[in-house]
Symmetry: C2
Subunit: 340 residues, 2 copies
DNA sequence: ATTGGCACTTCGAAGGGTCGAGTGCCAGTG
DNA sequence: CACTGGCACTCGACCCTTCGAAGTGCCAAT
């Protein structure tokens, strides 16, 4: 075993011990707890080298070492092996998610499950509309000049919007419009809907065109605006348990977790399922999450991901365990979504 | 002015100063900051009496006094006058809520607004279904043996559920069923729906009865299950700012705020609009919120409340200001809901 | 290259002294 | 009889010092 290999072993050991104990780890403790086959003095030399390279740091002169963000990065990229979930955990995922009744329920159960499994905060993005297709458009007259537009997607999602009409309409017109719209857009990708309905008003008599235009405009607005996605969060209380570790700065962290925009950036582009993105500490700056690490993955039926889910925790999280949990949940949710 | 009146004045002054400074208040400070017209020594006597009666307490022998839960209770019930909102605040409420596009949006804006106005955590219950009436029921075939049931209420809320049919159905049957169901239940109160649809399967041919029964059962399940209401929360980060005041016990508090059940109990029975419920400290036990106070009120169009909204903060909150803010927001949301 | 030994640094806990805020009580006063 | 000024007392906050434990870096030895 070459010297460099042993230095990596030392780094791995430091990360594992520090994650477990949350205390700076010294050379003696390392020699005792791990079979490195060398004396504390040798380990000290390696530690000094690791510190020169920026992988570890000491809080103060006579303390043990703590991994830096760079050290965690190396650990995650090269030193960790994914920890398989225990059978009880697998069972828990199944029984918990199988009870879901609709898409909202799937998401809300997923986010709570993730938070519970990882004992950290979980974030789940609702399946993206932009890659969905239209299953059905329903128009409901609420009043002579007010119509409710309901959009149903193939992922089982339902969006709604009220339209105020410029003039009163009747059931006949609305029925006709409903039929025509559905004929045009059912089965279509969201991206195609716009081009397909633009000419629709012209197919109606002059007196109805404004009404039809109002409805189609709202339909398009629903498609686009909801592209600004929704996100579910759970388990923020778990972060409070780590409390002190965030420099007593829990508040900006909680604020960040309440902001859609920040969360969406956090989840970022959905990676394909079965691959992960791990952002560590300062890699998250300047989002108010620079003291945390984020593990995300994409999910969705089939190969390409509809959306992302992930977990937010202290940089000293159990990366292998967290990655395993996120992966297992994402796989199971993807399976459920395919079934629908 | 009788002695008892002055003691109440002293209590009021203690509450106000303590809320403002977050530090135990002593007799000298009281005499300086308020025009009580008596010397510190006299105030001390009154304070001793107030302490005997359990309205205030000292953290330790040589510290100033702090209001007890009982003291806050008396303050809220008898000593405080509602503080009107500033014009900018009123304007903020209007501009912020007027932009809402649908019911979900109204609720989410409301909860964020409340959190921001009071700088505490806000909780808003979705308008209750049990007092709603049915506007429309839509059935959409997703697959030969799978139908999406969409329920639209007069409050603009949309509920959805997928039904697996025992046998394949066709468009004709579904269309027929849609028409019959709507004929029976549109305009009906939720409570009446069950009796109106029970006999529906018998009106169909024997081969279709199981299918019809499956759909009506799901419809009823949607009505009932969603009676288990949804709740929106925002502003938990604000509680972190008060951090230390909760005995460093932020975690159970955040946990409680993530649990639907706890929140629903918290909001309790919707009081009629324009009346408030204030629960102080230990009055919330044993819900994990015994270190907090909760101000709630009902809201909804017309006289009777559809649901509740409220604010959760430290017992040392600014009660008059909080009550005013909750009231103003509830009134404005009620107005918006009436308009729809 | 590795190791045992050793001097050195630093933190944190423990102990002790001082200070100030605030109290309770009491005797005195209009 | 209610109020007031005075006074002794208590207790936490703060500061300082001391001391031990933990852990390091370096060096000479193998």
């Amino acid at each position: 075993m070459s010297v460099d290999d042993r230095k990596l072993d030392v780094l791995r050991a430091i990360v594992e011990d520090y994650v477990a104990t949350q205390e700076p780890v010294g050379s003696k403790a390392l020699a005792d707890r791990h079979q490195l086959g060398v004396s504390p003095a040798t380990i000290r030399n390696d530690m000094a080298a690791l510190e020169d390279d920026g992988y570890i740091a000491q809080p103060h002169t006579s303390a043990g070492r703590v991994p830096t963000d760079k050290g965690y990065r190396l650990f995650v990229d090269r030193l960790s092996t994914v920890k398989p979930l225990s059978p009880p955990e697998r069972r828990a995922i199944q029984t918990f998610l199988d009870g879901a009744v609709d898409l909202d329920d799937v998401v809300s159960r997923t986010v709570r499950l993730l938070a519970q499994l990882t004992r950290q905060a979980a974030v789940v993005q609702y399946p993206s509309l932009s890659r969905s297709t239209v299953r059905h458009v329903e128009l409901v007259m609420l009043a002579p000049a007010r119509v409710l537009v309901v959009l149903i997607t193939d992922t089982g999602r339902v969006e709604q919007r009220v339209v105020e009409l410029p003039t009163d309409a009747d059931d006949v017109l609305v029925g006709e419009l409903r039929a025509r719209i559905n004929a045009l857009v059912v089965g279509q990708d969201f991206a195609n809907v716009e081009s397909r309905v633009t000419e629709l008003p012209d197919r109606f008599g002059p007196e109805d065109r404004a009404t039809v235009a109002a409805v189609t405009a709202t339909l398009l607005a629903t498609l686009i605006e909801r592209h600004e996605e929704r996100v579910a969060v759970a388990g923020t209380a778990n972060l409070a348990r780590y409390g002190q570790e965030f420099d007593h700065e829990l508040e900006p962290l909680l604020s960040a977790l309440e902001e859609q925009v920040v969360l969406l950036r956090l989840l970022g582009e959905a990676t394909s399922p079965a691959t992960f993105r791990v952002r560590i500490g300062s890699e998250n700056a300047p989002s108010g999450l620079s003291a945390t690490s984020v593990v995300t993955t994409g999910y969705g039926p089939g190969e390409l991901a509809l959306a992302s889910m992930g977990v937010v925790g202290p940089t000293r999280m159990d990366y292998p365990g967290t990655i395993a949990a996120v992966g297992a949940v994402a796989r199971y949710v993807s399976k459920i979504l395919s079934a629908h």
